[in-house]
Subunit: 306 residues, 2 copies
C-alpha cells in the first residue's frame, strides 16, 4: 500500500476539519535530552480519533442511514462529532466501561447513543447488526486503511512542525495510531509501542507471530483495551521490528500525575501511557538519543468541570 | 525606557530556564476568524510568572539571605521555583486565599512558606519586613522593570512563533504581564486589557487618570486581585490607549468550562478571564479582525490530581 500518498491525501482531505495540535519540549527526570511532546489530546473530542473519523467520512459516500460505530468512548465521540459537523446521523454503541465522562461527550454531539452491557465485543456486535440491517456505514476504530491513513496525519503533521526525535513513543490499543505513524515514517525513526500490562494485544501478537486474543483490564482499558491487535498494525510492526514495551497501571497513574504537576495537562490514562514508559524506566534512551512522546487522549474521568 | 532591548536581553537570560509554551488556533463560536491561543499555563509552576522571576534573579546578585516574595500564589510559586533551580533560599508569604493547591505547589519547591491571615497586603507587609530586617531580595510581583521585562518575553516569543493577530486579549491583575506585552508591542497590535468586575484596578485607574485603590473579590481574586495597578502598567496603558473591558465571574467560569470541553485545557479562573471577554461578547471583534488570547495560569483549585 502506498501509505505516503494515502496519508498525504488524508491530510489534504481533513485539514479544514481537524486541529493542528501543539508541540512542546520539556525536561524529563533522568533523560539527558529534552523530550518533545505532541499534545494530540487537544484534538476535537479529546483524542487523535477525529483524524481517522473525518478521513473515513470524507473518503466515500455516506449512506442515508448514516454512520454507526462501536467504541470504548473516544472513537465513538470522534465519529459522532465528525458526523455532526458533516451533517450525517450517527449511532454509537459503547460498553458500560466507557464511563460517564465519555458518554456525556458523545451525547453532546447529538448522536444516538446506546450503552451496552458487558464488554466492547458486545457493543461491536450490535453495531454490526445495525450496519447489516439498516445499511449504515460502519467506521472501524483502528483496522481500516482510511482510519489508519487519517491517524497517520498526526505524525506527518508532527514532522511538518519540525520534529527532531530519533525515537517516538506511542501508546497502542487496537493499533490505529501507531500504524499510521509507522506507515508515515516507514522506518525513518525508531518507534516504541507502549501498552499497559493489562492490555497488551500487540505485545502478545509479536510474541505469537500473529494477532491473538488477549484479556483486557486496567486503568486504560476503555481506550487501549483492544482484545486483538489490528492486522494493519501487526503487519507494519512486524515488518519494521518496532520495540514493544509494557507499563504498569501505577506507572500510568504516575505519568498522569507528572503531566498535571509539571505541565498542567490533565489527560486520561491512555494519554499518559507512552510517557509512563519513559518516566518509569521501562524505556531507557541512550544519552544522545532524542525522544518524542505522543500524548493521545484527554478524556479523563471524572470530568473535572462536569 | 528601552523596553525592546530590556526584553530582548531578558529573553537571552532566561531562555535556558523557561519553556517555549505552545500556541494553537481554534474556532470560537460567534467569531469569524480563527482565534490564536498561547498556552502559557504550561510554563514552569503553571503561569507566566516564572519569566519575571528568572529574569529578576538573573539580573542582579542575590544576597546570602536569599529571596522573599509576597503573592496570591502564582508569583510565590514562580519565585520559589526559580530560587530552587538557581540554588538560592526563598521565603514566600501568601494570604489564606491562595488556597491549598497553590500552597502545596510552593511547598513542593522546598521554599519556606508562611500563610498569613487576612488579605494580600498583610503578606506584603511581612515580606517587606524580612527584606528590611534580613537583607533578603524582594522580588516584586508586577511593578518592577526586571519583572515586566521578563513577562514581556512571552509576547516576544509569541511573535517569534508567527503570531498573526491584529488584537491580543490579556488578563490584568497588577499588570505585569500586559505591561510586558505593551512594552514589547509598542502599539504594533491592539491590546485589550481584561479584568474581572470584582478586580478592576486598571479600569479604575484609567477612569481616574491615575492608580487608585480598589476593593477586590470574585473567583479570580487570588491571581488578579491587585488592590492597585502597577505604575509601569498604568503608564504604558495610558500612553498606548489600550481598550479596557470587564468580565463577570459567570463569564470566567463559562470560559473555564469551554477550555476544558473544547480543548482539554483545565485552567484557573485568571487563566480563562481573557477568553471570557470573547465568549461572553464583552469584546466583539470586527469580521476581518484576527484575535489572539493569552491563557496565562493553570493552577486550578482543587488540584485535580492532588
Amino acid at each position: 500500500m502506498d501509505w505516503k500518498t494515502l496519508i498525504g491525501a488524508a491530510g489534504d482531505r481533513i485539514g479544514g476539519h481537524v486541529r493542528r495540535t501543539p508541540v512542546i519540549e520539556v525536561a524529563v527526570p533522568g533523560i539527558a535530552q529534552p523530550v518533545a511532546l505532541k499534545l494530540e489530546q487537544m484534538q476535537h473530542t479529546g483524542s487523535f480519533k477525529a483524524r481517522g473519523a473525518f478521513n473515513t467520512l470524507l473518503s466515500e459516500p455516506v449512506p442515508e442511514a448514516g454512520l454507526v460505530a462501536a467504541s470504548g468512548g473516544n472513537h465513538g465521540a470522534a465519529v459522532a462529532f465528525a458526523a455532526q459537523q458533516l451533517g450525517h446521523t450517527a449511532q454509537i454503541f459503547v460498553p458500560e466501561m466507557a464511563g460517564p465522562a465519555k458518554i456525556a461527550l458523545i451525547e453532546r454531539t447529538g448522536a444516538k447513543l446506546t450503552v451496552v452491557q458487558g464488554e466492547y465485543a458486545n457493543a461491536l456486535a450490535q453495531a454490526r447488526e445495525v450496519e447489516e440491517r439498516r445499511g449504515a456505514m460502519q467506521v472501524h476504530a483502528y483496522d481500516a486503511p482510511a482510519t489508519v491513513a487519517g491517524q497517520g496525519t498526526c505524525m506527518a503533521e508532527w514532522e511538518d512542525q519540525g520534529l527532531e526525535a530519533d525515537t517516538v513513543l506511542i501508546a497502542v490499543g487496537g493499533g490505529g495510531l501507531i500504524a499510521g505513524a509507522m506507515a508515515w515514517l516507514d522506518g525513518r525513526r525508531k518507534v516504541v509501542a507502549v501498552e499497559p500490562e493489562g492490555a497488551s494485544a500487540l505485545h502478545a501478537a509479536l510474541f505469537a507471530s500473529g494477532p491473538v486474543d488477549v484479556e483486557v483490564s486496567g486503568v486504560a482499558a476503555n481506550a487501549l483495551g483492544a482484545r486483538r491487535i489490528g492486522d494493519i498494525c501487526f503487519e507494519l510492526a512486524s515488518r519494521q521490528q518496532v520495540s514493544s514495551v509494557l507499563v504498569s497501571d501505577d506507572a500510568i497513574i504516575g505519568a498522569q500525575r507528572w503531566l498535571w504537576q509539571e505541565l498542567r495537562q490533565l489527560v486520561e490514562p491512555a494519554g499518559a501511557a507512552a510517557l509512563a514508559a519513559l518516566l518509569s524506566g521501562v524505556y531507557v534512551p541512550e544519552p544522545e538519543e532524542r525522544v518524542a512522546v505522543l500524548v493521545c487522549g484527554g478524556n479523563v474521568a471524572p470530568d473535572p468541570v462536569g
